[in-house]
Symmetry: D2
Subunit: 497 residues, 4 copies
């Protein structure tokens, strides 16, 4: 059986002290092993990145960008291979894997604009014959810790931008679907990246803690659940690092009485059940304003769900695949059961679906639950499964209050035709990414991704302009050239230029 | 005896459970008391800020900026009064106090450009008929904790920008010279700021900890010493907040053999001894490249120091005043003694200067120490007194290595006429603010201030463009309007627009 | 009788070869004379500006901005005096004059942000150890030629920004209401502007042609009618200058069936009749989609117009004042008559209104004309009077087509509640300034003003970011410092860095 | 014999009313014919561009950028083919042709950043609940007219950026070396560009005038000689278009006494003689400060020139090739002769060099002329040949005065080690592109290219950020949504938001 290794200093390192099973969620079988890095293996990766840093830092940004142009091309050439790996280890259906990869490639395209994005600001004559300018210099070695649910996209949010800014990188992908990251690193090498600039270590908490505490790691980007994000943020910062840690979500859609209901249902079908709901931007709560809207929505949505197909990635006609593990399947089922017990109505029940030929896969079918209310377990926590909750609100104000009082503030959207409602919503909602008739308002690669409240810890979002700022250190130079033979009087006061 | 109170919700609150002495450092006498806030007083200030937030947030930026235009005008009108307070409580000579205030006013001028600085980015057609834009929205209540050494300027780095961005603010100034902050708050009120938007609480660790842990405080800006900065950063972040914490410094000047030596000496006299060296940007180490440069520098500098006048703020002809406390005076003297004991040469000894009529003031005279080396206590630690160390280096490389290996990375400068040396230095030095023949390279208000290494914890510098980013939360809206009667197919894949 | 003079090199020059009458439009009487500059007077002004240029150019931007901070303060202090001058010479009612001045002051506020706006872009390592940056340097002497209808605001669009960018300026205001510009220049002087940096010459075509052809004038900003704008643009550019020339307009509002009709009527009442319609952003055509919308609009608007008061600026309760001249009054009346003759319906007829006590003033009352169609004289030409045309369209597409086919493309707006309609309109309309339920979509001072089609000739709009670009010349510096003793091989190829 | 045709609406159109000879300058022989477009052919191209415009305009910028990513890849794959065409028709040696192409490709890379560059500015709450934002929309059909000396690079400065901004394009390349442009258009088509978006017409003044006067052409970019640039600017603007017209140059290098002389000589050898001096950025005048610098420079330069090889593009070891035509060869020789007659000293004489096997080619060898002075014909006019003039100046001030008084202000550079000299020079020289120890300071693709004085007519430089601004039209939208049932009072005053 194959063992997925690390990628350190341009070499695949396959030996490891410990390994862990990698499952194929569609079949429920163990398909590979993944090496679990010991502390010293992670330290080797950091050391390799540290050694590669000075030369990479001095490589002109335009030359660094050329690697990204090439990398984009290679990603497109290897798209099928990447999507196959995503299918095998994560379970995504090919069209969804391609959607993920496409979004990742767009981040590489943005990284190609590094020469533009890295410009500093220059001021002539901040004082008489004194100039000042800023340079956005790289930080050194930075680390990325990424989740299982987007094995290609989330790493591509991070390392292309960090690297094109002049940093060197250690990536710790999810140990549940590690192969994709390894392939990405190999394609970067093929694109011309010098050895040591990008390193991948597979592992568990040992690897994470090593990255969070190593003196040579200057910054940490994390995407995962909120408890871990909180731990990562507190630990990395307590060790003096800059850190951005993206956590969980509970994304609500408000459905207004004037919404184009067919449009809303079509949009939410994909946003709630696509990728089995295992997206931090999944739309998992529909808040219908007024019972009429709720009844219509429930009717149309339950109708639409009849044609939803859950199944294996090997059949492209499926709409979505399994969840990531057997344990997670049980957990999702448990949320559904708890909803039932706490008084909600299960309209469509996706527990234990029949997936012929894949009886041991980790499947949960599309589930629709009506009459959910704040306080229920299924409402307060992130389910991360193909489960759509319907909450009934009496007014838009009440709907917005629920969202604003929820722990998370990642994404949200409103379905309406009314300009004033949309503007009031987007202005006042305490959520970082807002859709107006757009159910998955993931910012495009040249904007930045980031939630509010307990969905993001840190000052800056990831990728886009915020990503560039995160991966660079401002240096401000103030310059004055002495005129010959001029003797200047001592200045004891604080200079006001 | 007067008690300096708090400023909460537009009212001066003078009663307090505890008080602490405020000294006049020039005379050594206790001149006032300052109220020390209990936890609940700080909570009242936070609550007032929270109540004032929604309306202030909704006030258009251009209208918020008008308060700043008025405030600038009032600061200019009240300049003498502010400088007098700085003199009485901090000991700064009037010309230096005015220098500090002028720099502070420049930050208010920058805050006047808020309508420009708060612009988001708008993209038409991120997908077909889909638009996306970002808004830089305020955070809510933010806190600032400021040091004794710039009682006007550092508060002015923070609250005008935070407030013009739409936040409300709680300021905890240094309890050693608290009156200035109180006056600034009153002038803001006079400029038209609604009550509760800016609050000032005086206090000690109790106040600090309350601010660092209060759930309603969304962000913390701190300027002080590195150990406290580290504590503030770790504590605020562990409570989920964004934080920028600016710490200590050990700023080196490299003096190259081709430097305009008279210019360098004149520049360093002000940069080393001005404000008694109690500046985080004070130039406290001169690294001379080659013994010839060192000998010339020592000779000229010791000559220049003969006319240096230390004394009380009441005499404008003085060059600098006392240090902040008796304890700090002893500490600075102790650093000088340790240098002597560890093998350095005291060229000019400022211990126990004679200041007629002010025998109990906390004075240390200008001190010059030659043959200092890395490893000596006076070299490794921040002295924060009027003490200039001279280190002799054999080469520019060696000089840069010392700087790069030092714990701090706030400011630095080089004296040279050579373009190549200057560029090599500014490119490769691991310091955030770099001067080329500029001894105090404090960025102007429309650039940003921030050190590297253990001089700053966080992702963003203070004031200028970084300050705007720090005090705002990115919200990204993605918008699509449904065309009438169009039914859109469900999208199960992750949308790639 | 007073003669309004020129302002050259800090002096009011009152003697002139020729003079011209200045009328009080409210009374119809000649109130003053204005000097008409001969060619050599204009050349003196240019020469004064040329002499003042080098020192002003070298004044740091932050210091130039301080003049603007002071100027803003003086404008506020002198607001009543300025508005009185506007009333006497232009006829505006005080509340409208104050609206104009407030907008002008906002441009001065934007000019205060010059240190931020003038930043160039800095790139480290465009090649190995090669840096490149841009500086936005001033042009030299620039000229502004401004119209009668905004005697304060349009000059304030131009000279504060041009001057804060480091240029020196010659302003030729309208000879119909010249006093305001003179006062503005005197306030600039009081704010600390050195003599010669801002000069005002009053005059006619002789003055204009001198400015357009003088070699020392590097750029020309013009606002006026389209035929003159076209002449100015062709002439200035034929003499090698950069030029922006803003011309006429015919601004349409589309009123959709779902519009908030009371809101639309209230908004259009001000936008059509305010300032007697003598605004290039006046809303002069209402295109109602569907007869029902048209009928309702006509009914409500004719009702609202019953309380419209036309009269002299001396009575603040008036809604609007006279037009600028007797000839213009006749011209506006002629357009109304032509509409009648060409088949339109005069719903409210403002010809020859009764203004007691001001029988010789140049008054035209609010006029509403229904059933106007493309091809009619009143539709094709700019009336510049208090005349609102109603066109009936069968569909939004037809309404948009009319707008897109019209010669002018300055401003437009739509009244609707529907997000999709608004977005389709703003995306596809060939007009530079678009309002959504905003009848006068004049961009705020930190955005830029500019029409499309024959409403603007040139590449850049006026004021805001475009204004900064227009008033500066890009200089790009590429720098490499030779390392000592390194001999570089000759490079015969075109360097690709 | 081949006829080079037009490329209209995705088709190569080979028939033409008239044709003109295309020479191979290396051999002096006619190698091809080029079609010369009649007015109606140009109009067809404009019409094709106009038809293609609406759909291309509506294609999302990120999708337009994808064509550029592909185009970059195709340019790299076809580099040899392109360079061969440049060699055959222009005469450039392969390494130089590749340098040109590389620079062109960098402009395509910049065009790939369109989604970032096209962002507008968004302001929430310009007034209460009123938002405003700008969109940089395309213009429509734009035209480019390009010179013979960079048959690949200059077209690549223009059409990729214009097209990625959403415009459609008509390119009229030089009729002397037309094949390259045709191939570029075909590669754009292969990259996925829809037909009609990019069109190429070959021709003469008829074609130029058609483009300059056609109502559907909204903007014109031109690069060529100053008299033609002036004609193009005046004609295009007189027809209401925006225009940028880049003209001639006379680029001076100041050689200071402290310059690294070997470095300066090596740099100038390439910059003066590379591409036979047929570059608008060619360094054609060396101003030596002091006779000692002049003598040393002359000695080292005449030495270096001994190994200069002029010859055909078929031999890669040549340093440069022929000039473009027999007539131009005579003209260059004439300048050399005039220098001799007017008192200068011919140090190295390149007239009539011996190029074995290519006796009929249009060769001029590297020429060095000493003791040139202002007023001489060779100094005042642009030679556009491999001729380097040496002027002796007594001081840096005198040298700068010569440059500032010259008609042209395209590029310049200084050779020095001194920071102060470099800064004084770059600040005060009236030239748009400045090198510090960089002889050909062509801005990189993410900065902008543009000279001053009579080297550029217009407000904006070409390519980079200025290019984006030139190829887009600002539209500013101001939006307010009516709250239900709220009746707003009429506003007669000019709104100050």
């Amino acid at each position: 059986m194959n063992t997925v290794g690390h990628f350190i200093n341009g070499q695949v390192i396959e030996t490891a002290e410990r390994t862990q099973d990698v499952f194929n969620p569609a079949t429920g079988e163990i398909s590979k092993q993944v090496a679990i890095a010991a502390k010293n293996t992670v330290e080797e990766a950091i050391a390799a990145a540290q050694v590669a840093y000075p030369e990479w830092r001095n490589t002109p940004p335009a030359k660094r960008a050329k690697v990204m142009f090439k990398f984009k091309h290679l990603l497109e050439e290897n798209a099928d291979k990447i999507c196959a790996l995503i299918g095998e280890e994560h379970g995504k259906i090919p069209h969804d894997a391609m959607g993920e990869l496409t979004r990742g490639i767009e981040n590489v395209e943005f990284a190609c604009s590094a020469p533009q994005m890295l410009k500093g600001e220059h001021s002539r004559n901040v004082g008489p014959n004194i100039d000042s300018w800023s340079e956005m210099q790289p930080l050194g070695v930075v680390a990325g810790i990424t989740p299982f649910n987007f094995p290609a996209m989330v790493p591509l949010w991070m390392f292309p931008l960090a690297i094109v800014c002049g940093n060197t990188f250690v990536l710790k992908p999810s140990e549940r679907d590690p192969s994709c990251a390894l392939l990405l690193a190999q394609l970067m090498q093929e694109a011309g990246l010098p050895d040591g600039v990008l390193n991948v270590v597979n592992g568990d908490k040992v690897a994470v803690d090593t990255l969070l505490t190593a003196p040579d790691v200057k910054a940490v980007s994390f995407v995962g659940s909120t408890p871990i994000a909180e731990y990562v943020y507190a630990t990395a910062t307590a060790h003096g690092k800059r850190c951005q840690a993206l956590g969980g979500a509970k994304n609500h859609a408000i459905i207004m009485p004037d919404a184009d209901m067919d449009n809303a249902v079509a949009a939410l079908t994909g946003a709630a059940f696509g990728s089995s709901g295992e997206r931090c931007m999944a739309l998992s709560v529909a808040v219908c304003v007024g019972d009429e809207a709720a009844d219509t929505f429930i009717e149309k949505m339950s109708g639409a769900m009849q044609s939803l197909k859950v199944g294996a990635y090997t059949d492209s006609s499926n709409d979505f695949g399994p969840v990531i593990t057997e344990a997670h399947k049980q957990k999702v089922n448990g949320y559904i059961s708890s909803a039932e017990q706490q008084g909600a109505t299960i309209v469509v029940d996706g527990r234990n679906p029949d997936v012929a030929g894949f009886e041991n896969g980790f499947y949960v079918g599309g589930t629709l639950i009506d009459k959910v209310q704040p306080g229920m377990t299924c409402y307060e926590e992130e389910i991360f499964g193909p489960v759509l909750l319907v909450v009934r609100a009496e007014s838009m104000e009440q709907a917005m209050q629920m969202i604003n009082e929820h722990e998370y503030g990642n994404g949200t959207c409103i379905f309406t035709r009314d300009g004033e409602a949309a503007r009031y919503f987007s202005d006042n909602i305490l959520v970082g990414m807002v859709g107006i008739n757009v159910p998955l308002p993931v910012p495009v690669a040249y904007h930045s991704f980031g939630g509010w409240k307990r969905s993001l810890f840190g000052s800056l979002g990831t990728y886009g302009p915020d990503g560039v700022r995160f991966y660079t250190n401002r240096k401000t130079i103030t310059q004055r050239w002495p005129s010959s033979g001029v003797r200047e009087g001592a200045q004891f006061s604080f200079p006001s230029h």
